[in-house]
Symmetry: C2
Subunit: 477 residues, 2 copies
Amino acid sequence: MIFYYGDKMNNFNEWFHNILEEAEIIDSRYPIKGMSVWLPRGFQIRKHMLNTLEELLDVDHEEVLFPMLIPESELAKEAIHVKGFEDEAYWVTKGGKRELNEQLALRPTSETSMYPMFSLWVRSHMDLPIKVYQTVNTFRYETKHTRPLIRVREITTFNETHTVHATVQEAVEEVEAGIEIYKTFFDELGIPYSISKRPEWDKFPGSLYTMAFDMIMPDGKTLQIGTVHNLGTTFAKTFDIQYENDEGEHELAHQTCYGLSDRVIAAVIAAHGDEKGLCLPPVIAPEQVIIVPIIFKEKEDMVLEFTDKLEEQLSSAGIRVKQDKRDIRPGKKYYEWEQRGVPLRIEVGPRDIENNKIVLIRRDNGNKDFVDYDSTTIIDTINDTLDSITDNLKTNANKFQDNKTFIVDNLDQVKKTINKKGGIVKFNWCGNTDCGKQMEEEFDIDVLGTQEADIEDKKCIHCGEDAHFMALVSKTY
Amino acid sequence: MIFYYGDKMNNFNEWFHNILEEAEIIDSRYPIKGMSVWLPRGFQIRKHMLNTLEELLDVDHEEVLFPMLIPESELAKEAIHVKGFEDEAYWVTKGGKRELNEQLALRPTSETSMYPMFSLWVRSHMDLPIKVYQTVNTFRYETKHTRPLIRVREITTFNETHTVHATVQEAVEEVEAGIEIYKTFFDELGIPYSISKRPEWDKFPGSLYTMAFDMIMPDGKTLQIGTVHNLGTTFAKTFDIQYENDEGEHELAHQTCYGLSDRVIAAVIAAHGDEKGLCLPPVIAPEQVIIVPIIFKEKEDMVLEFTDKLEEQLSSAGIRVKQDKRDIRPGKKYYEWEQRGVPLRIEVGPRDIENNKIVLIRRDNGNKDFVDYDSTTIIDTINDTLDSITDNLKTNANKFQDNKTFIVDNLDQVKKTINKKGGIVKFNWCGNTDCGKQMEEEFDIDVLGTQEADIEDKKCIHCGEDAHFMALVSKTY
């Protein structure tokens, strides 16, 4: 019986939920709303995802780990920041049966746990820059409808980078560096994105500005998948992060922070999955290759001898490979590994061995390839195929995002396009907060942000003032 | 100026605190008592420690991740268990400004978050065994004096394994397997231990029995560094973890769990550190080898050419190596890397190169060895030296534990030995709870537990009843 995942495009929720369950990624039946269990297969995907990200961060950042609880007095210090988070912080008020003297927040994000320590760490310009990151669980008391991996109350996988610099210029450069890291990371996972500068009213509370990555989901709504913030000196002022410069004067430090979450896994699933279930890019697949020996009674030894050798060979070359020797129909095996999103399947039967062939079946496009087995070139062949799968997944996902991104030149089209086609709509905009907020209300959309564009003598399509940017608008998660 | 760490044996606290600070392991100035920050160097040690452990667990267990919050109703379900933890659980009572309908505990340990899910996962004997582990942060509202890594309120590194089995026998075997894993793990880190079965009144709340690993610290008190529990069917009853056997009857599952924490790092520091600071076993050292080129003005290129090649060669062989090219006195470099516990230092100067020699200096015993540089054998030489360091650290640490473990045959000696020499005192014991608790009070010691021994016709040295075990007693952390 073939499992029906539902219609990815027209009923994304059902399809997504089914994937999480059938591919054994998470179990969302935990007895607290908005909190889920990472199952072994999901955990492995998460781990490879984090390894991929951390390899990029490790080039120029160091990993640390800060406490999970934040005293109310610290969280409340930065007035604008706390306003952004106070309604969604969980509060610990009791230890055992005793009331605590001061209530403690479960970190909603870690600025206010880290920056009091940065204040101790930074004395002179010699202590700068600080460039650290951590991967932790954070908590948001979401009152909106929760959705596994997308809108959760425990973000189990919050990867946050925090940096401190001596100059404005270095902070700006770090924002650019953060954007480049995320671009590389999303590209490796084949996740498409549009980058924009969030509007004033939607930037990170306490920041100068926020650069954001948004992916268009199958249902046409956008999902924020990463943000990079220039914090200026706001937090340095609040938490007293000062350094002595060469002249012996005290100066405020300049800061940035950027983050990603579990949503990356949601984005991968949404970008590449299909009617057969999960489809994983090789870089994060727990098994990149599954070998299925086709066993007939008399030829069993011959086949297994071959597939064991093949498995050993791929494994030695650093390819994550598994062989499925279970005594069940090959068809059932194919079906299961396809559901689980394994990028490449190798089938080997007695006749293949006689003909010195192996069969490669790609998960991304279903192509079946009979290739000559040559022990000196097989690793290259497999690696090339895996690379080709990565490229194809990325190309298709980017195509979807491009095809769902529309440039329009009048207001009518904004609403029509969003409602009929979904996706991101771009147009000339003045950039004013009043104008933007009015649009959001009128059209029931969100202004994702702005991109610089070559706009000369153009007018804002909403208010008619001079246009300064391209606005990106969409329905959002 | 040489930093004075304090007297490891006579003022362990001061010495330990200084190591944490000077070797940049954790910063304990976080504004909540009992919660600390892992600094970049400490984080790397922690990471290698976890990799070492997880490699052992991964052979037969799968990694998962459960939510951090536990509803009060779940935590309270198992009556004996909750009694053991209710006084030290932190409680979340508010989300934003709202009171929650049900208060949520920060996990003190994860039985009650995992087992409601196991109940859903287990249907038939085909679903068994379940063997999973996770590494998470857990919380204890400690009212006792806190101490970094040893007695903390946020255990940032709780590695806990949980298993479910169809039969009693399998659960017993898993307990044995868990003990073997921990033995191998501690051996790799050169951490000495005594294993005993905790007395009835000190076993894990809700378990049948608890096997525990204790290390004798420099001050003579013992530190519990790992525990393995046979949970029997207690939790299976409470959380309804039942399976259908071959005959279609429902049976309760048998469970085990075992865990380790941040204390492993404390144990490593305590076991191997000395008056020069931290001393790390190679398996968890962020840098296993530090290369210090001795640079003289005219010979700089020649030396760096050689050390660059050497670094590259070691690195390719999978050795974690770093080269210190900073423009400061070599003596200062030696001192710093010794403080940080790097197992092996390689010094190379122009004359060494001319003589085709390199100098190996071991951190564990300070031995200085001039070895011939031969590119075909150098990797073996380095690896052999690293192995020898591991062995030496382990041998010395075990010797300390052995020398501090005393067998006595009368009550007088128990108290005298503990007070004068510290460590673990062993003697013939009846095993009765009343007798044991009385001893604990009389002598101001803790009964760690019992070991099986060949005791025939011997009497309990305390109450005079028949002896059944060797008791292990000590002062404890």
